[in-house]
Structure formats: structure tokens, C-alpha cells
């Protein structure tokens, strides 16, 4: 099982002192956070893609390429890559390039994006969100698997005799997760391809995601990729920790109350009760995270959102220390002890190469 962090890349004013980082500071902070993730023994760093203020990460492969050069083990991922408004040809090229530079430490999470104007800014129509996700990914899937592609569709210029370069590292494309917070169509898409399904459950109660993940698992088996238990599931989570629970609550409350996403809404207490957010001691984060397995079954990847709501870099780095030193080692042990037999391993490039080779030998 893999543990990591994902970041939205928002520039948010610290509500406790009114300071706002510059774009340069935020971008450098994201890099520092990624390097820290590797240092404290996390497996994955994933970043969002956005094309509007107050978000800085419009160019994920530039940032991930830079991080790749400064890390050795960290898997670099996205949360999410906009499969609707990006040209699938450019995704194929950019991420294959990154895959080579990072020696295979790359995967992607596809998402549709929920900012209406981004669609027209990139020449698309939000009402075509699902068809765009389906058609663009179908093309991307082929571009990484077929050396020469002839293709015609509804949303981009046709291709005749096109080869996407560089070809994927070792002839094995980056692993793909499909992220969704509400659409069964996307769970179905992930199941069809035997790809991973990432349920970013951080803002919603679990019942909703339990249904989506169950659908994905059932359909994964239907399409012949393995048993429902072998489907590849990722989950979100978010936490703020201090050694003492009360200290965590006292320190985080002003950030929670003003957070761009849920601020000025429910109380911290209601929100932590109804969603995966945990504000408390490392042990409380461990306990809450272990309940995810009860709701969704054994899963392969757990990503935490740690750098949101205007938290200063120093605080985020302290959080990562706690996550890496006190939470994740226990979670690794506890999840492993509870794991059912036959559950799929978390995807890595090496494992995918091995699987491909085994399939070739089996002929």
C-alpha cells in the first residue's frame, strides 16, 4: 500500500496573520513539501492542475520534472490531470517524457475539472464533460500502446500516421487512476480499462463513495481484470495533527473556519464527524484512516491533503514529520495485518513491467 500527499496548489491568505504567499513562494513551497515527503518516507506526491487564480499549478510536468531530478524514490502523480480540456496528444507526450526523466516514478490521475470557464478557455464545452473524458482517454490509451495511430473523433483534429514520442519507458505506459467525486460513468471507465479508481472522499460523507467504489469493483471484475478485491482503489484524506489533540484543534480552527472550500460553513466538530478530516493526535489520524478500510475494502493508495487553507510552510513541514514518523509506519503495519489475501499490490512501474513480461512469456 502506498501513502502520500496531494496538493491543490492554492495561494491562500493565512487567516491568523493576514499574510499571503507570492506565487513564487507558493511554487517553491510545493517543491519543498514534495522533497519533504520523500525525506519522511512517503511514497507519493501528487499535484493538481488548475488554470485560474488563486491556483499556481498550470504546468504539472514542469514542476514534477524538477521534483523528479531532486528525488530518488518518490512516485510523482497528479490530482488531477484534466482529461477534458488538455489535448490527449500533449498528455501522452508530456507524461511519457516525465516518465523517462523520473525513471518510471510517474503515474496520473485523470479528472474532468469542475471550473466552468476553463472549458471554453480551452475551446471546449462543459456539457461535453463526460464524452470528452471518454473520447480523450480512449485516444491517450492508444497513443501509449500503439506506435502508429490513425484516429478520428469529435473533439480534436484527426490523426493519420501519428507516433507520440517519446514512447513510454520500457514500452509500459504510466499507470492511470480515474478520479471522480460523483459520476458512475467514470467508475465504469476505470473498471473497463482495468485502471485505478481514486475516490477523493475528503469533502463528502462515506456512504456516497462506498456506492461508487462498490460499482467500480463489481465492474472491474465484470471486465475480467480480476476479482472485485483486486481492483485498485485510492482514497483521499486530510488531517491536522499535534501531539495533543486539544492543541491541534486550537491551532487549526482559525484555518478551518476560513478555509476556501468549507470555511464559514459547518463547525469543525460537525465536519470532522461527517468527513475524513481529522484534527487531533497522530493516533486519532491512524484510527480514522483505518476505518476507511472498513467502508471501502482493502485499498492501494492513501493520499492526504496537508497544505491547504493558508497553513504556513513551516507548519506543513511539521505535519509531514508527524505523518511520516508517527502515522504512516503504523498504518503500513496495521493495514498489512488486516489485508485480505489476493488483494492487488499498489501499482509501480517495475511491477507493471514485470506483469507485461509475464504476459509475454505466457504468450
Amino acid at each position: 500500500m502506498q501513502f502520500g500527499i496531494f496538493t491543490v496548489g492554492d495561494v491562500t491568505t493565512d487567516p491568523t496573520n493576514g499574510t499571503t504567499p507570492t506565487e513564487a513562494e507558493r511554487i517553491k513551497a510545493m517543491v519543498t513539501i514534495a522533497l519533504k515527503a520523500e525525506e519522511v518516507g512517503l511514497d507519493v506526491f501528487a499535484m493538481g492542475e488548475h488554470h485560474n487564480p488563486p491556483f499556481v499549478p498550470s504546468s504539472p510536468t514542469t514542476m514534477l520534472g524538477y521534483i523528479a531530478a531532486r528525488t530518488d524514490k518518490l512516485i510523482l502523480s497528479t490530482s488531477t490531470t484534466l482529461i477534458t480540456t488538455n489535448d490527449p496528444v500533449k498528455i501522452a507526450e508530456d507524461y511519457a517524457m516525465l516518465q523517462h526523466l523520473a525513471d518510471g516514478r510517474v503515474d496520473l490521475m485523470m479528472g474532468r475539472g469542475n471550473t466552468g470557464p476553463v472549458y471554453p478557455w480551452f475551446g471546449q464545452d462543459i456539457r461535453n464533460g463526460i464524452p470528452l473524458a471518454i473520447e480523450n482517454y480512449a485516444l491517450l490509451h492508444r497513443l501509449w500502446r500503439e506506435d502508429v495511430v490513425d484516429w478520428e473523433g469529435n473533439f480534436r483534429t484527426p490523426l493519420q500516421g501519428f507516433t507520440s514520442t517519446p514512447r513510454p519507458l520500457d514500452g509500459v505506459p504510466p499507470f492511470v487512476w480515474h478520479g471522480s467525486i460523483r459520476s458512475p460513468e467514470i467508475a465504469e471507465q476505470a473498471a473497463y480499462y482495468g485502471d485505478g479508481f481514486f475516490a477523493n472522499n475528503i469533502f463528502w460523507p462515506k456512504e456516497h463513495f462506498a456506492r461508487l467504489i462498490e460499482l467500480y469493483r463489481t465492474r472491474f471484475a465484470y471486465y475480467g481484470h480480476g476479482t472485485p478485491d483486486q481492483a485498485i482503489v485510492g482514497l483521499g484524506g486530510q488531517a491536522f495533527m499535534r501531539k495533543n489533540s486539544q492543541d491541534a484543534v486550537r491551532e487549526f480552527r482559525p484555518y478551518f473556519d476560513k478555509a476556501p472550500v468549507y470555511g464559514n460553513g459547518p463547525s469543525l466538530e460537525d465536519f470532522t464527524e461527517q468527513t475524513p478530516l481529522t484534527v487531533g493526535s497522530p493516533q486519532e489520524v491512524i484510527d480514522k484512516t483505518l476505518t476507511f478500510r472498513d467502508s471501502f475494502g482493502d485499498y492501494q493508495r492513501q493520499l492526504f491533503l496537508m497544505d491547504h487553507a493558508g497553513l504556513p510552510l513551516k507548519t506543513v513541514l511539521e505535519q509531514l514529520d508527524l505523518l511520516g514518523e508517527e502515522v504512516v509506519p503504523v498504518l503500513r503495519k496495521e493495514f498489512a495485518a488486516r489485508r485480505k489475501q489476493g488483494v492487488a499490490e499498489a501499482p509501480t512501474h517495475a511491477a507493471l513491467v514485470q506483469k507485461r513480461d509475464a504476459a509475454l512469456v505466457a504468450g
Binding site: I130, P131, I134, E135, A138, E152, G153, N154, P158, P184, E185, E188, Q189, A191, Y192, F203, W204, P205, H208, R211, L215, R219, Y223, V261, Y262, G263, N264, G265, P266, D270, F271, Q274, T275
Partner: protein, 203 residues
Amino acid sequence: MTVIAVVSAGLSQPSSTRLLADRLAEAAGRHLAAENTEIRVVELRGLAVDIANNLVTGFPSPALKEALETVERADGLIAVTPIFTASYSGLFKSFFDVLDNTALQGTPVLIAATGGTARHSLALEHALRPMFTYLRAVVVPTAVYAASEDWGAASGDGLASRVDRAAGELAALLSHAAPKRPAEETLIPFEQQLAALRPFTTG
């Protein structure tokens, strides 16, 4: 069994909006006397903060979720709001804003409103009726408006007869409607999703 949900957006206690809602529910029950009818009342006042929180977070609290499910699962709906600033109250509208936009599809709905003066009675026709039509509900022809003066009017073509006529219309729709089944998530198989894109291609 026929279940009628009653949504009342009255704010004061006691509230004339709730009073009107109760009279409508009682009349509907009387018209459906032959059938086993259950009335489930949702008072929005107690859910006001939860509704605002849902607008902010995108998901309902457990108490609001229960209220939304009550409305979604009901066979019929009686929706009553006070008229504020020439239209439905913001609380009333916000509740229907956080309700799933397919929840009332095909559901018979009786709309009613209260106000200090009869001058705003057409708010039912220019605000509530189009809103429920957007939600693809079946709105009964008679909408009931109760101004303060109506509570003291003599019978005849007064409030009591409008309540009775509207409730009768709702009952008639309910006794002819097929029992409502819980909405099922429809799964479109992936091959079909792919195929749906093909007719547009030339190749």
C-alpha cells in the same frame, strides 16, 4: 400506502404557513380516505443552518439528508412558503436548491403560500410553479394563497374551498399515479458510452 411529504418554510412559531400546510395535508388525507395515507412534515426552520452549510460544503448533514430523502421518496408533495419580497422565501428556495434535481420528477405537487396581503398571490404562479416545472414535478392546477384576511373570511369561495379543491386535485393525481419507486442509479455500460460518441464521427 401513499406518502405525502409536507414542506413548510414558515419561520415564526406558531406559523400561519405551517397552519396552511396542516390544513392542506388534512384535506388531502380526507380526499384519499379510502387509501392508507401517511403525512410526513419537514419544517425548514430547524434545518436553516444545515441548508446553508450544504450550500457551502456541497453535502447535507445527517438531519438534512433525512429531510431530503423524505421529500424524494414521497408519492406527493405539499410545498408551502411565506412570500418574502415578492417571491418564495430564500430558505424555501435554498432547500429545493440542495435537493437533487431529479428527486421530484413526475411527483404530484401542491403549491401554497402565505402573506400579509393578497397582492402577492401571483408569486405562486410566477415563482413556485415554474420552479417545480423545472424540477419536472406535476403541479396541481389550484395553487392556494392565504393572506392574513383569509383566516377571517366567511366560507363560500374562501380559503376553505380553495384548500379543498387543491387537495382534491392532488388526491386525484395520487390515486392515479403509479407508486413511486426509489430512484436507482442507472449504469451505462462503457461500450455504450463509447458507442454514443461514434455517430458523430465520419470515420
